[in-house]
């Protein structure tokens, strides 16, 4: 136990700002202001993988590491679409996931937003449209915001969330 406490003490608070990256905190403060103003302090997101190669999921996970720690800005990922304000959808919508994506969307209470994350979700990306993929998420459910990238970085994700809230 002492070792754990000691390690925590020695690690300190690494949550940004780190020296070279002041912009992230500014971004975060603005994000928090918007979440406070428009979402009463809590913005709940349900991530849905509709066929991604799993790179996008790795970067969503990174948002929760101690550097970005998006929860401090009021953004949190929830286990059920029924608890979500927004769906964060990745992948070129495999046809095998199309029905599940639609049902997840229907299970999300209105008002709701849909964010298409990554090049695949935006336009099919490297996989395009074929017998197994539909391509862009907007061909299955209405999309409010796209965040391109392969995969988008955690910073790009935060910028995307902010852009959505600033509308």
């Amino acid at each position: 136990m002492l070792r754990i406490l000691n390690k925590i003490r020695k690690t300190g608070i690494i949550t940004e700002p780190v020296l070279e990256d002041q912009s992230l905190e500014a971004l975060g403060i603005e994000l928090k202001r918007q979440v406070d103003q428009r979402m009463r302090g809590s913005f709940a997101i349900r991530a849905v993988d509709s066929g991604s190669c799993n790179a996008c999921e790795l970067e969503i996970h990174a948002l929760n590491n101690a550097y970005y720690d998006v929860e401090r800005f009021g953004v949190h990922f929830v286990a059920s679409p029924r608890h979500a304000d927004a769906l964060l959808v990745t992948g070129p919508v495999s046809r095998h996931m199309a029905a599940a994506l639609k049902r997840t969307y229907d299970a999300t209470p209105a008002p709701k937003w849909v964010i298409a994350m990554g090049d695949c979700a935006v336009n099919g990306g490297e996989f395009g449209c074929n017998y197994a993929t539909v391509g862009a998420v907007e061909r299955i459910i209405p999309v409010d915001l796209v965040i391109p990238g392969c995969p988008p970085t955690p910073t790009a994700l935060m910028q995307g969330l902010l852009a959505l809230l600033q509308r």
Binding site: K7, N54, Y131, C150, T153
Partner: protein, 529 residues
């Protein structure tokens, strides 16, 4: 030990079993021995391979003209790879199943059944596997007359009538999970039968993220195919693009500069470390030890940030290209890498003993999710899943490809076969990879980082074999006209390790499923293709 010194023994067994080997070649698929047999002998060959003690590696088909498939199965024995090939008429696409001898062949055979319309007689489980409802049962996407765009509209119904295994009895109940899971992970369906908290049976249903990767690779040029290979499974982008490049470079008989090979290994070891760091944290987090999750995800983030600075991408996508690598590193950058290695060592020296000594972790991880060595051999488990269950195999050591042939690769091995030992294997692999990285950088050869790609002749083919962080990756490529891809088949290690999860979960409690799943960490995308 000379390579393939066991081949004569195998050929003698073939004779005993009346398997006619029409032709053998050590050069057509370089570094791999190719045997041509008749499709009539297909089933008997499985018996021969089993007697020899071969490990089942991969199965793929390839339509070579309007009337004919080539069926290929790959085996490994003592670090040598053997591909056995039989032609099969499309009019009569029936073969004996290898599954009775090699359970690992089960799902791959069902994949061929769905994708090519090849029936496997005596298959113990002939249900569809990769196909849900995106295309009709009597159409086969990997036949050449199937249009890549398909014929279905956007409206694909859900797959609601898959005949799951049933269990009956007093107190037995079912838990369906997925495809959309509670966490931020890939989609798949798990069907549990449980009594109280104890899992009686788990059945996996995958295929939800099937993206037509094998089909959309066709007619691409080499660079396009490698970009796609880098997205077979995003967490293994380096390993998959390396395997694809290796296959194509062997087909084109292209010699890759030594510096490029060393840089590929640097990228591959960095990918291994990043994933191991992330997963060690996640395994601990799945049993509520959040301290480790915060620490290890911090280390992973450091690692990814330096990837971006030095190689231009946080996950190292598109860094490996046909003929070499996309970017070079120079003196100061090498120094940055070496500093990071040293810093990570110091961190791990502090953190790993804490993980190792924690009574709460020990309580949850030791004895959880046991995969016995016998079962591991039977299903052909690879990578850390195999190494934790007594399977001592690592391509970098046992089938050493450049630059690993000049490095000393040590592979951790445990017989304790639980979640804790899979975690230990991964921790030890990080330390091993750090050593390899230091050595690779210290001995970085001078010279070019790539040669110009030259398209190979029609029907040139190659096989790439790489030890990814999950284990052995195989990639087969055959070229068509004008250097375009005619067949691309990547076999992710997840094909072999997903069945392990169904076995090791028996008699565990339902709440331990997440940690058991994470300790195997199969790729859905790499499997579903």
């Amino acid at each position: 030990m000379s390579r393939f010194d066991w081949l004569s023994e195998l050929l003698a067994r073939c004779e005993d079993e009346h398997v006619l080997v029409a032709h053998g070649s050590a050069t057509q698929l370089a570094l791999v021995h190719l045997l041509d047999i008749d499709h009539e002998d297909w089933g008997r060959f499985a018996d021969v391979a089993r007697q020899q003690g071969c490990r089942w590696v991969a199965l793929w088909a390839d339509q070579i003209d309007v009337d004919t498939f080539n069926i290929n199965v790959c085996f490994e024995y003592r670090g040598d790879y053997l591909v056995v090939r039989a032609p099969l008429e499309i009019r009569q696409p029936v073969l004996p199943s290898h599954t009775p001898w090699f359970p690992a062949a089960n799902r791959p055979e069902r994949h061929l059944q769905d994708m090519f319309g090849i029936a496997f007689s005596d298959h113990p489980d002939a249900r569809r596997w990769t196909r849900h409802q995106a295309w009709p049962e009597d159409q086969y996407p990997l036949r050449k007359n199937f249009a890549v765009a398909g014929e279905t509209g956007d409206d694909t119904p859900g797959d609601s009538d898959y005949p799951f295994f049933q269990a009956q009895g007093a107190g037995v109940y079912e838990i369906p999970v997925g495809p959309v899971h509670a966490g931020i992970i890939e989609p798949g369906h798990f069907r549990f039968q449980a009594v109280g908290e104890t899992v009686l049976n788990l059945e996996e249903r995958l295929g939800y993220v099937h993206k037509g990767i094998e089909k959309t690779a066709e007619d691409r040029d080499a660079a396009g195919a490698v970009r796609l290979a880098g997205r077979v499974s995003g967490d293994s982008t380096v390993a998959h693009s390396w395997a694809a490049c290796m296959a194509m470079e062997r087909a084109a008989k292209l010699a890759v500069p030594a510096r490029a090979l060393s840089l590929r290994a640097v990228l591959a070891e960095r990918e291994r470390i990043a994933n191991h760091l992330g997963d060690i944290g996640a395994i601990c987090n799945d049993v509520g030890f959040a301290f480790a999750q915060y620490q290890f995800s911090r280390l992973r983030e450091d690692w990814q940030r330096l990837n971006l600075t030095l190689f231009g991408h946080r996950l190292l996508m598109d860094c490996v290209i046909p003929g070499g690598v996309a970017g070079d590193i120079e003196g100061a950058q090498v120094g940055k890498l070496q500093n990071q290695h040293a810093a990570l060592r110091t961190e791990l020296d502090g953190l790993l003993p804490i993980v190792d000594d924690s009574p709460s972790l020990e309580d949850r991880l030791v004895g959880t999710g046991v995969l016995s060595p016998e079962t591991a051999v039977l299903i052909g488990a690879v990578g850390y899943v195999g190494k934790a269950s007594g399977i001592d195999y690592d391509l970098r050591r046992d089938h050493a490809y450049a630059p690993y042939h000049r490095l000393q690769v040590e592979s951790p091995l445990y017989q304790t076969d639980d979640v804790a030992s899979r975690l230990k294997v991964r921790a030890e692999e990080i330390n091993q990879s750090l050593q390899l990285l230091d050595q690779l950088l210290a001995e970085l050869p001078d010279g070019d980082i790539a040669v110009d790609w030259t398209a190979p002749v029609l029907n040139a083919e190659g096989l790439g074999l790489v030890e990814g962080w999950r284990g052995e990756i195989l990639c087969y490529v055959r070229f068509g006209e004008a250097g375009r891809i005619a067949r691309f088949f990547p076999r992710d290690p997840s094909w072999l390790n997903w069945p392990a999860l169904e076995q090791l979960i028996h008699d565990n409690i339902v709440p331990d499923f997440p940690v058991c799943n994470k300790s195997v960490n199969g790729s859905y995308s790499g499997h579903d293709l």
